[in-house]
Symmetry: C2
Subunit: 416 residues, 2 copies
């Protein structure tokens, strides 16, 4: 019986004849031809990625990204997701049960936070000191939140006093602030922020996409209620997953909301189950990005092996070396207060007389090094250099300084 | 001057001393230790993925997933995104300009469609004949659509007459239907559906996640206004990106809507720019999943090289061989009408006397082959076997039939 099924040569030939004729019929309907560009090989150049991210992936993470797939519901996959969960708990310094990675970029994690924690009409206070606050306000506004702003010029950070005044004035249920403001190069101090928010009956939501693993961050000790990050910065994994975690208070708000979140894809009732956070058997929600999970798991494993403290110290040490080298080139660091400088992304004021684009283009063309200009409100004001995770090394500091000196010597300079 | 920056040995040593002491201070605050599980190596078993997806990735796509990153805004990345766009236009058989891949799974593409095309209060008609219609209704409901249903038992398809009656009754602005209903194994005929919808001033939204590349589909000729798919089925790329395309009429509705879509991440005004569809210089929206784009590009390139017609014919031919083999094993195909059987995912009625879970577990344990049970309304009713893209081969047909015969011989059978 089986043999008949497996050795169906004559049957197979018959079908082939049958289908050749169907193909002929069908092919007259295929009017869009295969694009010639897809018949050429994929060509990906090698770059030293010293912008604000994505950063380079070490060979171990590249290898993970090239592994064969397993199923999104296989026990081995759930084990890897559990590994990721524990890795995020370590990286975030939290014991939160509701800890997972969303299937998207940092923006997707930002939406996951707002979509689940905020309901229509809720007052949310957004600290804007660069692009991320602007994006957060956009997202909150779309879902009907009553958005209030606390703003500061690009390159500065907020004080507890300023935040307290705004909390007292607006009485928000959620306060958003960015830890590592990669558009300005500012590291926002967070000590005391959680207690302050809680005194005003407000949840604290922190964006750590550009800072996680590169600067001290203690979710539980600092009283952060919702914290998210990205995979493609210090964790050196490809973009496509974003770690996120929720405190007990945040979870309570999420699971007692009156309306469904606007997104099924990002609904934490579903995601909590998919990530084994609700103690129930896991049921199908969506197909997670399997190979991105492999890579993220390895990124978190490398961080666990190195230790958070070593990673923080190395990022700070290398940032200071870079800062010194930049000042020796006659360049001006954009963030005035040394204590507020983000160790992962350094901003330099665009040197007088130069076009920023000339410099980044020159470095890419002649040195295969990416550094970038500003973003959002810092556009045109700064150049940005990232030293993140695997890329935070002395040879990369040397490389970027040599390339930058070369660019300054060769790019056109207008006399002012 | 540069030398000073690059050879900062004494400076470096000083900082190292300084930071060792800061690390000691900081380490007292690190209370969550590195998880031991992350200190063990990543372990990914090899599986023959003959379920409804994800399917196995051919070596060429695995290699693409393991490439080093480039930036999400590098010109080479934009070229690869342009390649993807053209590849989707070919696979969808469309000339639509607004064609791109969203940064998420098939569910994310489904949300992209509803979030952008539907506004609060819009009447949407959802054809439910399996899980995908249920999910679509859930998504539409969350954003305030007036959701109407057209339902059919699992295993059947809709006729034009049934659809016309419902269009006349509900007067929806959008009609959702699944082409390849992977939960039931039904291939929904689409000829005439577009014209019908347009006569009723309604846009046609089609889910082709499980059918694209495996069964004839002509977006433009069939008058489909919104079509989306997934990366992890016939295209054999990892999950994490989802092709989607919009007709002129759909684009008009999207770009003349009165309210912003609920999601910034999925807002087509932004995505159209990011994917070079609006003719303007591309500006930063989100960080796309760079390596997933590499893989998707290669999946589309393989389809372009093989040709759509050959791919359709091969899937059909292999499905028929599989069906014959299954019937020779005494199994019953779940979809009665041979014309309605999906070539990519075959459903079998769970054989009488067996627990479906025993069979799938046995095949995984003893043959490293994934086949699955039902999903949503087909749970407990069917077993599902996928032969998709790279996996649609004679050796895989042989493998799955041998393993299934073995399972039927060794799994417990209750006498009825």
């Amino acid at each position: 019986m089986m043999q008949g099924a497996i050795r169906t040569t004559s049957f197979s030939l018959l079908r082939a004849v049958h289908f050749s004729s169907s193909v002929r019929i069908m092919s007259s309907l295929v009017t869009i031809p295969p694009p010639p560009v897809l018949l050429q090989p994929l060509n990906v150049p090698h770059r030293v990625m010293l912008g604000p991210g994505p950063s380079n992936n070490p060979p171990r993470i590249q290898a993970a990204g090239g592994l064969q797939l397993i199923g999104h519901m296989h026990p081995e996959m759930f084990q890897i997701m559990d590994d990721i969960k524990q890795g995020i708990q370590y990286a975030f310094q939290t014991q939160n049960n509701l800890t997972l990675a969303v299937s998207g970029s940092g923006h997707c994690a930002m939406e996951t936070a707002f979509f689940n924690v905020v309901e229509k009409g809720d007052i949310v206070l957004i600290a804007v000191k660069g692009i991320w606050g602007e994006r957060a306000a956009d997202i909150a506004g779309r879902i009907g939140a009553d958005v209030r702003y606390l703003s500061k010029p690009v390159g500065e950070a907020f004080t507890l006093t300023e935040v307290e005044k705004a909390l007292a004035e607006h009485k928000p249920s959620l306060f958003f602030i960015t830890h590592g403001e990669s558009s300005s190069g500012v590291l926002q101090p967070l000590d005391g922020m959680g207690d302050l928010c809680h005194r005003y009956n407000c949840l604290l939501l922190v964006d750590s996409v550009a800072s996680l693993g590169g600067a001290p961050l203690y979710m539980d000790k600092q009283g952060i209620d919702i914290l998210y990050s990205g995979s493609q910065k210090v964790l050196n994994a490809p973009p496509g997953t974003a770690p996120i975690s929720f405190s007990e208070s945040a979870s309570k708000k999420i699971f007692s909301r009156k309306t469904k979140p606007p997104s099924l894809y990002l609904d934490l009732k579903w995601l909590a189950n998919y990530w084994g956070c609700d103690g129930k058997p896991r049921i199908y929600h969506h197909t997670g990005p399997v190979t991105n999970y492999f890579s993220l798991r390895e990124g978190l494993a490398i961080l666990a092996e190195q230790g958070l403290e070593c990673s923080w110290a190395r990022h700070r040490e290398n940032a200071l070396k870079l800062h010194k080298g930049l000042e020796e080139l006659g360049l001006k660091l954009f963030v005035k207060d040394p204590e507020l400088r983000l160790p992962t992304v350094t901003t330099i004021s665009v040197p007088i007389g130069y076009e920023w684009k000339d410099i980044t283009t020159y470095m890419m063309k002649n040195h295969d090094i990416e550094i970038t200009g500003g973003l959002g409100p810092s556009t045109g004001k700064v150049l940005r250099i990232g030293l993140m995770g695997y890329n935070s090394t002395q040879p990369n500091i040397d490389r970027v300084l040599i390339a930058l000196r070369d660019a300054l010597q060769h790019c056109p300079k207008n006399k002012m």
